[in-house]
């Protein structure tokens, strides 16, 4: 993938306008995601949760950079690797951690788990487990925004493996044909489970270029630099807001852990060297930290304060989750039907559930 660093992304208007405090906030959000997930990992290993746990560690700059651009009518939807986006849109650690623990206080009342975080009040539409399944939904968010006459967008995140689900291309054609303000963001971390990009996809210069076949603007960017993420996503967002046109962006990034915590082979299908290289040279948090120190808006001491606070917050969220009640048995059949939950006339008419 080509990496044009011709322009200095830090001085792009969207970044140039950032106050020192804003910059530190961006860093802080990245750190919070990392500390949250590290705490989650520890709890998972301690047997506190079930199912899958897909960690976002290494990719934090993408969620934080993109979501920091969101205005009132900009929406987000993603796949199952969804903790980072959840925190980046403003969900709190407690509701997220409690969800992982399957507790009633979880954001989805313990019904969704790791892959299914939602916060519609924060324009965050999940958290979807079927690879590629979120791409038509993202189209629908964009359609809804446009239908309502709002100046907004829908950012739909997906992995490099997800590009091989057909509904993505159906969505691209419709987005282009109907001029919908959707931004597909491919978080290319080089692997879909144990399969490297080269073993799953053929493409001209990059995956995003497939958008050209549908008359859609596309670009690639280096995800390790949160300034670059913001600068280039901003271009797409303005295209969405002002021209109601879609964009496909491919952001190169890297996950440090396995596909999920259960992925025992992740140091076999890729080398430890490769992982180390990313951690040493491309870590988005370390890079941005250095950058901010260089820019003199941050000191090592301030960094430690932020980091400690994030650790503390994560630890607190674990305690919160542990102390929270598990959902009641009756809750199993709640949240299935709106009408039943509200006991409207419709919900009280006819039988909706069929045990016994």
């Amino acid at each position: 993938m080509e990496n044009t660093h011709t322009c200095e992304f830090a001085s792009a208007p969207i970044n140039a306008g950032l106050q020192p405090a804003d910059k530190v906030l961006l860093l802080r959000e990245m750190i919070r995601i990392r500390r949250f997930e590290q705490a989650a990992l520890k709890s998972y290993q301690g047997g506190k949760m079930g199912g899958f746990l897909h960690l976002y560690i290494g990719q934090e700059s993408v969620a934080v950079g993109t979501c920091s651009l969101m205005g009132h009518d900009d929406h987000v939807i993603t796949a199952y690797r969804d903790h980072g986006h959840a925190l980046a849109v403003g969900m709190n650690m407690n509701e997220c951690m409690a969800e992982l623990f399957g507790k009633a206080t979880g954001c989805s009342k313990g019904k969704g788990g790791s892959m299914h975080f939602f916060a519609p009040d924060k324009n965050y539409w999940g958290g979807h487990g079927i690879v590629g399944g979120q791409t038509p939904l993202g189209l629908g968010l964009a359609y809804g925004v446009k239908y309502k006459g709002l100046k907004g967008s829908a950012m739909c995140f997906m992995g490099d493996g997800a590009v091989n689900q057909g509904c993505f291309y159906e969505s691209l054609n419709m987005a282009s044909l109907w001029n919908l303000p959707v931004i597909y963001i491919i978080e290319n971390n080089g692997y879909s489970m144990g399969t490297s990009l080269a073993r799953s996809s053929v493409y001209p210069s990059c995956l995003a270029e497939r958008a050209a076949g549908f008359g859609i603007e596309w670009d690639t960017l280096n995800g390790e630099d949160v300034y670059e993420v913001r600068a280039k996503v901003q271009v797409a967002m303005e295209r969405a807001h002002n021209e109601s046109r879609p964009t496909v962006l491919e952001i190169s990034t890297y996950r440090y852990y396995g596909h999920s915590v259960a992925d025992a082979k992740h140091k076999i299908y890729r080398s430890e060297d490769e992982i180390e290289r990313y951690k040493q040279l491309h870590d988005p948090i370390q890079l941005f930290k250095s950058r901010l120190i260089e820019e003199q808006v941050l000191t090592e001491e301030q960094y430690d304060v932020i980091d400690n606070a994030a650790r503390q917050e994560a630890d607190d969220s674990v305690r919160f989750a542990e102390e929270s009640p598990i959902p009641s048995e009756e809750s199993i059949t709640e949240d299935v039907y709106f009408e039943v939950d509200r006991q409207t006339l419709a919900g009280r008419t006819g039988r909706h559930f069929f045990n016994d």
Binding site: G110, K111, Y143, A346, F354
Partner: protein, 325 residues
Amino acid sequence: MPEITYREALRHAMAEEIERDQNVVLLGEEVAEYDGAYKVTEGLWKRFGDKRVADTPISEAAFIGMGIGASMLGLRPVMELMFWSFSTVAWDQIVNNAGMVRYMSGGLINCPIVIRGPANGGTNVGATHSHTPENWIANVPGLKVVCPATAYDAKGLLKSAIRDNDPVMFMENTLLYGEKWEVPDEEYLIPLGVADVKREGTDVSLIAHGRAALTALKAAELLAAEHDISAEVLDLRSIRPLDEDAILKTVRKTHRVVLIEENKPFCGVDAQIAAMIQEKCFDDLDAPVLRLSAIDAPAIYSPELEKRQLPRPIDIVAKVLSICR
């Protein structure tokens, strides 16, 4: 009361709801400029314009998913599948998105969407175009399924479906589009979950849904005329929610039941109904609950044979005679 076609009844329901609620939008293949492959939406695009009625590409996964996404934001899309058979290419969207997002979000997100279109055999369009997936859909907690048999029911149920805050899968029948029934001019709604006794009777209950309910009515006439058997015909109308009380009531009245559906038998809707009846009315039954379904093979093309493949009045009569003598 004026008589209108099933097709017109559906169209009127949509027109009224488009006028009533600015969040209602009709989307699907050929629904706008072409007036609908089966002309159900005829004139609506002309009348309501591009914003409210729009043609989609042949991309069911994308456009059904799009409708679901839009419904999460509060729109009330009424999506036409040219055939319900094409739901196979949007199956993930229907089951996993419409069916589960409310649950997985702990009730934070609703999908007030309607997906509608014909789901029937009997028109010689071959196996891939003749699916009747009401049993598949009704297996999914989170989804609702409606199968109207008459113009009157179609209109009242579709209006309720559009106003319902849960995803409703609305299954019509191309063989009925041109049939006429009395439908009042005044607005009315038919709630989901209320079955309809389409004919009263005392000797045997014929329970059916969709076009099979009409076949049952014909059979009831034959039974009365030729065999002096008084058959009650219960039309389920909605499969989920299901009017179990109405089923139990008719069974307790007649003590004999024949279930009729146009679906394939294995795990059809009538398997569920039969299982339920034998459990709840064990001592009320004077005979086993019998079932009549389509002949258990993919839909055959050959026109004469496809007629034979679906339940006919005489097949129902034979079943009834086997338990009423």
